[in-house]
Amino acid sequence: MLRRQFLGWSASVIGAALITPGCRDKQFARVKEPGQPDMVGSHQAGAETFKPLVDEAVVKLLERHSMPIMQASHVAGAEQLPPPPKRICFICVENKSAEEIGDFKEQLYECIDSKILSSQVFQPVSKRFVDAGLRDTRLRPDQLFSPDGQRTFAAYMEQQGQPFDYLLFAKLTSGTTRENKEYQRDYLLTLELVDIRNGQYDKQSAEISKGYHKSRVSRMWNALQ
C-alpha cells in the first residue's frame, strides 16, 4: 500500500511538473488614465520629477515674458499694437546632474519646445533648423557665446530664413545630501534666455527634492519626521 502511495505521489508530482506551466508569466502593460500618478523612480529621477520641473519652469518663464509692452506713440489716440513674438532658438538641454537621464533628454527638449510654441509668447525656431545650423557651422553650443561663433551662427540661421532674437538653454543640475545609506537629491531645471543683441539674460528655475531610501520602513519614518 505504501509503495503504491509513494509511486502514485511521485507520478502525480512528475505529472504536475510536466503539465503545469509553472509561475512564468508574460509581461503585460496598461495605459494610464489621465490624472493617475506617475511611477516613482526608485534609483533616479523619472517622470514624477521631470514633468513638474518642466511645467513649473516653463510657466514661470512664460509668465514673466507675457507682460504686454506699451508701445510709445506721439500721436494721440494711436492704436497700441502687441509686440511681435520674440523669436527664440532653443539650443539644447544640458544634463549636469549626477544621473544619466537616458531617453528623457530628447523628451525634455520636446516638452519644453512644445509648451513654448503653444503659448505664443515666443516663436521658437524648429529644432531641425537648429540641429542643421550647429552641424553645418560645426559650432559647439558653448561657442555660441564667443563673438565669432555667435555671428557665424546668427548669419547661418538668417540665411536659412530663421532669424532669432534669443538663445534658450535648459540645464538640469542636482545636489546630493547623504545621511548614512540614504540620500536626498535636489533636482533643479533652469531655463536661461539670452538676448543675442546685448547679452542680457533671464533665468527661471524649478526645483524638486527627492529622498531615496533603502527600505519602505525608512521611507515612512522619513515621511513622519
Partner: protein
Amino acid sequence: MNCRPVQRAPALSQNASPGENSPRQRQISRPPAALGLCLAVCLALSGCSTYADRLRDVRAGYFNGDLTFARQTIEENLKKRPKEQDVLRLERAMLELAEGRPQDAERTLREVRDRFDELEQKSLAEGALAMLSDDNANSYAGEDYEKVLMRSMLCISNLLGNGEDAEAYALQTIDKQQQIIDTGTDANGENPKLAYQRVALGAYVHGLLREQTHNAYDDVERANILVCNWQPDFPFGPVDLQRAQAGRHSSPGNGVLYVFTLVGAGPFKVETVEIPSQVAMLIADRILSNNLNQTLPPTIAPIKVPKVVTVANSVSHVAVAVDGRPAGSTATITDIGKLAVQQYDAIYPQVLARAIVRRVVKKGAIYAAKEVTGQEKGTLGGVAFDVAGVVWEATESADTRCWGTLPDKIQVLRIELPAGQRQITLRPQGLGLPGSPASQTVEIADGRNTYLLANFPGTKLVGKVLTSQP
C-alpha cells in the same frame, strides 16, 4: 545520529506481524519494477549529447568561412531541439550579419532578447524537472554577458541598417548591465555580480550617436567617461573624452568613419567534471550510508558542470588604410572572452551548488523510495535501488548552451575623413604574417557618421564587409 529514519524503520520492522511480512517480501522480490520505472524516468529526462557537441560544427563552419555549412547545421538543429531554439537563433543572427543582412540579424536578435527577458522569470515546473534530470531541462535564458552583448549586437546591426533605433539599443545595453547587477543580491545579501566587468560598447555607441547631433556634447562626455572607466585599456578613450570636452565632431567638409571589427573566435562552454566536489560527496554519502537506515547511492557518476573557455586569438588588431594610405589600427572596446570568463567565474559557485543540490535531491529520492518500499539495508533490492540511483546520476549532462559564434573581441577605429567616396582596406594583424586584406568603398557624408563592420575570426575575412548609408 538523531536522524528519525534510523529509529523509525527498525521499529516498523520489529512490530511487523508475519502477515505483514509477506507483502514486503513480495516488494523485495520485485525490485525490477521500481528500477524499471526509475530508469525509464531518468533516461526520458536526460539527453546524451550536449549543446557543445552540436556547436562544434557551427563554430567550425562559421569561423572558417563556410557559412552555408554553418547555416545548414543550425537549421537542422532548430528543427530537432526545441530547448535550444533561442540559442540557435543567436547563432543564426551572427550568420545573418556576416552574410550582409543586418536587418534580418536585428529582427532575430530582437526576438531572442524579448524571449530571454520573458525567461528571466523562473518556472517551477522546469525547476522541478531540472532537479530530476539536469539543467538542460530549463529553458535557456542566457548568461548575463550574453544578455548585454545581445543588445550591443543589436546596436551594431541597427547602425548598419537604418540606424534609427541604435541609440535605444545603446541605452538598453547600459541599462541591462545595471539591472543585472542590481538584482544580483542573493539571500545572504551577497552580490557576486558587483564584480562584473562592464561592456563599454553600449556607452561608446551612445556617445558617437550623440556626438553626431553636434549639440549634445555633455552626453558625449558622460558616455566617454563611462567608456574610460569600463574599458580603461581602450586607447582612444581619453582622446574621445577630450574631444567631447573641448573639440567637435569633425571639421567642416569632413565626416567620420567608424570601423567596427569582430575579431577572433569567442568563448563557449564545455562540459567539465568537478572532481573535488565528487570526491567530497562520495566520502559524505559513505559516512551517511554507514549511519543511516538505508544506504545512499554512491557518488560514482561524475558531477558535470559547464565551464566557459576561450581559444587563442590569432588576430590582435586590424590595420585600416584609406585610399591606400594607412589610417590607423582598430582597438578593443569590448573583450568578450575575458568578460565571459570573468562573469562566469563570479557565478560559478552558484552553478556548482545547483549541481550538488540536484545530487542530494536524487539521493534523497532513492532513499525515500527504499524506505517506502521497505527495502532492507544490504539486500539485493537495496543494492538495485543504489544502482538505479547511480545510473540516474550518470545520465546528467552539463548545460553547455551558450552563444558560441560571438567574436573574442569587438574592436573599433574612428577616422575623420573628407566627405566623398573612400576606398577602405582592412588587413588583420596578428602574431604571424599579416592576414588577407579586404576592401570596401564607403560614402562619407559631411558632418555625419558612417559605419563599417568586418568579421575577422582568423586572418581571413568571413562573410561580407558591411557599410551603412549615411
